[in-house]
């Protein structure tokens, strides 16, 4: 292949291009990772070390006991259990409800379908703050406050964004599969369960991941609906580590950071497990209209 005089060879150009790309990406990664690295480092410091200047990123004598301490400062394992119950229920509920609704929008033909879909999407425009008090009043009337129900039950009624994501994905699955199943005598529920869901694993993984992370990290929902310490979640537990007496107590940041790191771990594990499906699901769901 000809190349213009003075111009570096193609492989050099490619190398330079990828080099600079990696350089930018590495820079961005450092930028995004720095707070996490600080969190890890702070979780191993003593009280003075957290805000020492100059800051020792690798503490001389790492305080591993901060991790043990955090589990004794509030009923850690009980809160892990509470959080798991809520998170797993919400994830399963969201997957079932959203996929079912999305199947309806993607596969069934009925009058007003597009209008209903638009209506469903339009609820995304409603900020949570607007619905917070009416929802609370509603749940209070049925006696659900200070239980896990207000945190779990709404997930059984679908989430517009996930319905949209799944519907887009379902549209990419050839209808011929459904038609073949119909000829074999399958009903819509059978098609949904045995054909569409197995083929939609990447999209379902994406929804599951988002939901899991959202429910696990949720602070505001439990804050509003949970009253008793024994029903609290991990995020509320972490919040309880902040000193309160007239706002002048001692916040043990190193313990708080150790707690935050422990709370973060399941998210990382779930993300790593679902990463492959997640990226694929997001790409397909987002591209196909």
């Amino acid at each position: 292949m000809d190349r213009r005089p003075g111009r570096p060879p193609a492989n050099v150009r490619t190398l330079a291009r990828s080099g600079s790309l990696y350089f930018i990406l590495a820079g961005c990664s450092i930028l995004f990772l720095a707070p996490v690295v600080w969190m890890i480092s702070a979780s191993l410091q003593d009280q003075q070390g957290v805000f020492a200047t100059p800051y020792a990123w690798i503490p001389e004598a790492p305080r591993w006991d901060n991790y043990a301490t955090v589990t004794t400062m509030f009923p850690f394992w009980r809160y892990v259990g509470n959080t798991l119950i809520i998170t797993i229920s919400v994830t399963v509920g969201t997957l079932l409800s959203c996929s079912l609704v999305a199947y309806g929008f993607a596969r069934l033909r009925f009058p007003g379908r597009n209008l209903l879909f638009a209506l469903c999407l339009s609820t995304m425009m409603l900020p949570g703050q607007v619905t917070m008090i009416p929802l609370y009043v509603m749940f209070a009337r049925v006696g659900w406050v200070d239980t896990f129900l207000p945190l779990i039950v709404p997930s059984l009624f679908g989430t517009p964004f996930y319905i949209f994501l799944l519907r887009q994905f379902f549209l990419t699955i050839p209808r011929e599969f459904d038609e073949a199943a119909l000829l074999d005598g399958a009903g819509h529920l059978r098609i949904y369960w045995s054909i569409v869901l197995p083929l939609a694993r990447p999209a379902l993984a994406t929804v599951a991941l988002f939901t899991f992370v959202g429910a696990w990290n949720d602070f505001f929902g439990p804050l509003i609906y949970i009253n008793s310490p024994e029903n609290a979640t991990l995020t509320l537990g972490l919040n309880m580590l902040k000193a309160q007496i007239a706002g002048t107590g001692v916040v043990e940041w190193q313990v708080l950071m150790a707690g935050a790191l422990l709370v973060m771990l399941p998210n990382v594990v779930v993300f790593l497990l679902a990463q492959r499906h997640f990226v694929k699901g997001l790409a397909i769901g987002g591209l196909r209209g």
């Binding site: 020492a52 439990p222 919040n239 309880m240 902040k242 007239a246 002048t248 107590g249």
Partner: protein
């Protein structure tokens, strides 16, 4: 069927016994639940949970803790008619809730209670709203002072501050304590750090008079003078620039702990600073301004209120008294006059006896300048309208984007919204008549040019 004699008596006897257990008897001994929405950390919750059973055994009142607090949560609970029996209110919220009849006037439940005699003078007034009713019992009280590193003073050859030291002496000390070890032009240790929310304490000390419930912003000469002095500390490199403080992301306490400042203005008492290790701590009162009589900052820092939707107002009051007067997490409590608050804290932190804590505390009782901070500086209804304009201007002033003269020029503009805020307040349907009268009067004052 013919009953034999024993059966004739046994069956009705059993029935009577059962009737005796039908709940009427139980009702007398039943405990009353009082829910308490308390801001507390895990250790404090544990301590409260350990103490509540003995209070319940004594009084038949069980305090049910709800340690998850937040304004949104409280509003949602109130909207659902599930307000906690006892909850925290700051001054602005307290007046609004009082005006809407959402919290009880404590005068009605605490009438002739001897507990009132145990409170420091002024505590009831701190919890009073515009109608003169008493709506919250302060659960804490504090003043502010200058925490300093005594070793740094000794090393710089400076005498330790006395109780009558002046701004000039403080500034001179700050200059000597400021050190630039590596000569890069940025001090490694600043002489002093005064968080901006304590500037008003200095204004009061300098003689600025701000009436309780004042409707609008006013920047008297005494305030302007303090603003100038405060900015000069930054310009002269004796105090870290506030923008730099934001970038460092440190709490003021950590600045002192890490040796980044030698003096720090903070709340007194301050548990975190009392527990700080590695610094030979001293506490001095705020400096005086020339010959002006001292007026030290004191604040009740909000308080605990009783919901008007409670089914048990008497029991809620008993619980409230116990929380403030006996619960260990609030003891020794600075709102109680019958206990030596300082001695109690010195018992907990023995090193305090040497710090000057007692002197600072007693000076604040002797020369109580009150609390001129934002949340009581303006009427409860006009404060948000005023603050949304004042706060950005103050931020601009501290970062030297505008001058004190610019700030004063902007005052009429800041007060512009006051009338509208009062009109809006009157538009509330559920306003109690006493408050409606007060707001009407304030609106008249505004119309007559009270803010001009």
């Amino acid at each position: 069927m013919r009953w034999r004699t024993p059966q004739r008596w046994l069956v009705p006897g059993l029935c009577l016994l059962l009737m005796g257990c039908d709940g009427r008897e139980m009702e007398v001994e039943r405990t009353v639940d009082i829910s308490y929405n308390c801001a507390a950390n895990a250790a404090e919750i544990r301590a409260l949970e350990e103490e509540i059973p003995s209070f319940t055994a004594r009084t038949g009142i069980r305090i049910v803790l709800n340690p998850f607090t937040g304004q949104e949560k409280l509003y949602a609970m109130i909207a659902a008619d599930q307000a906690p029996d006892i909850f925290y209110t700051n001054t602005i919220i307290r007046d609004r809730f009082a005006a809407e009849g959402r919290i009880l006037n404590l005068q009605e439940v605490a009438r002739s209670d001897s507990f009132l005699l145990r409170l420091l003078p002024g505590i009831v007034e701190e919890g009073s709203a515009a109608d003169g009713g008493w709506y919250s019992l302060s659960n804490w009280s504090y003043t502010c002072g200058i925490y300093y590193d005594r070793d740094a003073f000794r090393a710089a050859g400076l005498p330790l501050p006395d109780t009558a030291w002046t701004w000039r002496e403080m500034r001179r000390a700050a200059r000597k304590l400021t050190r630039d070890m590596n000569g890069d032009g940025t001090p490694d240790r600043y002489g002093i750090y005064i968080p901006s929310h304590f500037v008003e304490a200095l204004e009061v000390m300098n003689g600025a008079q701000v009436g309780r419930g004042a409707l609008c912003v006013s920047i008297p000469d005494a305030s302007a003078d303090v603003y100038g002095k405060y900015i000069a500390l930054m310009e002269d490199g004796l105090m870290p620039d506030l923008r730099r403080m934001q970038a460092l992301g440190m709490q003021p306490m950590q600045m002192l702990q890490n040796g980044r400042v030698a003096m720090l203005v903070e709340a007194v008492p301050h548990q975190g600073l009392f527990e700080m290790k590695g610094v030979d701590l001293g506490i001095a009162p705020l400096p005086r301004f020339g010959n002006r009589p001292p007026r030290y900052f004191r604040s009740g820092s909000g308080g605990l209120s009783i919901s008007s939707s409670t089914d048990h107002p008497r029991e809620a009051w008993e619980a409230l008294k116990w929380i403030v007067g006996s619960a260990s997490i609030f003891q020794p409590n600075p709102v109680l006059a019958d206990r030596d608050f300082v001695a109690g804290w010195e018992q907990r932190y023995p090193h305090l006896a040497e710090t000057g804590f007692r002197e600072v505390w007693e000076l604040s009782l002797l020369h109580n300048g009150g609390d001129a901070r934002f949340f009581v500086r303006f009427s409860s209804w006009t404060a948000p309208a005023v603050l949304e304009r004042l706060q950005p201007k103050l931020d601009q002033l501290w970062s030297r984007q505008i001058t004190v003269a610019d700030l004063r020029e902007a005052v009429p503009q800041m007060n512009h919204n006051v009338g509208r805020a009062l009109h809006d307040a009157l538009g509330q349907e559920n306003l109690l008549p006493a408050f409606r009268t007060v707001i009407n009067r304030q609106l008249e004052e505004f119309t007559r040019g009270a803010c001009d």
